[in-house]
């Protein structure tokens, strides 16, 4: 990795960790969402452990999208985005590195927290491992799909809600295969690797494609 991209990654990390950067908010939001659900459903441990992977996945989906609206908005507001276009680094790579930094700082803590929260939902150890593995494989796709929405709404006031409306339908395949991966880990008729490999494929496809879509949206922001 060349040094401009490395310094971009470090800058993103430092901003996310600073006050108001929102780095830790995603995992706190995840924690609250998952602990609220049992109150709504009631103390039926069998039911909770059956729908636990789904609860964790929906909470992870919302927590990932929560911080993404600021991914390009902040840079558009302070003029950094203009300057990114003047670097010799392709804008696609800038997008990819910003997504990588965002994923490391918001989605990776979710993956680490998911087994612990799974315990609260009465998940079996295999199911906990399955949820963590499926989140690890699936969250890159969520981040990169969200980046397309963030790029499309970068110039707008209150673009965050519009971004969620645009992007949530596109995350359906990731959600389906994420939950079925987690369910396959704790038994069932489907072998674990079948949905898991599809989930990996979804992430790889978005890593390959989404930076181009997001960069094109950022270039077309004006004019």
């Amino acid at each position: 990795m060349s040094s401009p991209l490395l310094s971009l990654f470090r800058r993103e990390a430092r901003i996310a960790r600073s006050i108001g950067g929102g780095g830790a908010m995603g995992v706190v939001f995840f924690l609250i969402l998952v602990s609220l659900t049992p109150f709504a459903i009631g103390p039926d441990l069998n039911l909770l452990s059956r729908i636990g992977p789904a609860i964790l996945w929906i909470a992870a989906l919302l927590a990932t999208l929560l911080g993404l609206d600021r991914l390009f908005q902040a840079d558009a507001d302070d003029g950094s985005l203009d300057l990114f276009m003047m670097t010799s680094t392709p804008l696609e790579l800038v997008v990819l590195v910003k997504c990588a930094a965002h994923w490391t700082l918001t989605a990776l803590p979710l993956v680490a927290a998911a087994p612990l929260l799974g315990l609260m939902l009465g998940l079996e150890p295999e199911a906990q491992a399955g949820v963590a593995a499926s989140l690890l494989a699936g969250t890159p796709a969520l981040t990169l799909l969200g980046a397309i929405g963030a790029a499309l709404t970068a110039g707008m006031r209150r673009g965050g809600l519009l971004m969620a409306v645009l992007i949530l339908p596109l995350t359906t395949p990731v959600l389906i295969f994420g939950v079925s991966t987690a369910a396959a880990a704790s038994g069932g008729t489907v072998p674990f690797h079948t949905p898991f490999l599809i989930l990996c494929a979804l992430s790889l496809a978005t890593i390959a494609g989404a930076p181009f879509a997001a960069a094109a949206a950022l270039r077309a922001r004006e004019g």
């Binding site: 401009p4 302070d78 203009d82 003047m86 010799s88 004006e222 004019g223």
Partner: protein
Amino acid sequence: MLQQTEGLHLSARSLRIERGGRAIVTDVSFELASGEALLVLGRNGAGKSTLLRALAGFLPLRGGEMVFTGGNAPLSERAHYVGHADGLKSALTALENLQFWASMLGAAGKFTHGKLSPQQALEKVGLARVGDFPVGYLSAGQKRRVALARLFVAARPVWILDEPATALDVGSQERFAQAMIEHRASGGMILAATHAPLGLLDAKELRLDKELRLDAVASTAGAC
């Protein structure tokens, strides 16, 4: 290193730039060589910023052509742009901001004449003391000076400046005028939009308000 700046030439012929489907800049032509400066003048809304943003590569040209000779990189990778937004992160210190832009913008890197370290650049704009201070705590004029310090941390021969002297005090304006003279003396090129005098001597002038463009376009659009 110096000879790389000598052969710079920028020529624009009958440029046309649109925003939101409206022609803001039409039929603008100019020629600029190494060491020369272009002052873009005009009242509010005449299209000064639009023209500079298009030259920097943020907006597409809808007509005319722009030819930049001097190295094999396009103009946007050989130019600095200082606009209304400072491009600074308020959570980071002035020094961290400059270090970041030095590494991002300096990537084109072969042209190193006149490049300063972030600390030296801050000294040049008179902000050596606040280098380790988060930018969010700085005043508007100090932020602008940090943004101008970006011109020195990555050496690029063309400076595109949109109202660079906004919020600067008299001393800083003089210091910046001196820096622009040095930049031109070393073969650089400056394109600036301004209302206040910048201290650019014998600069070419480009007036954008020969007619009331926005109104003229609005009336033709209504006729269609």
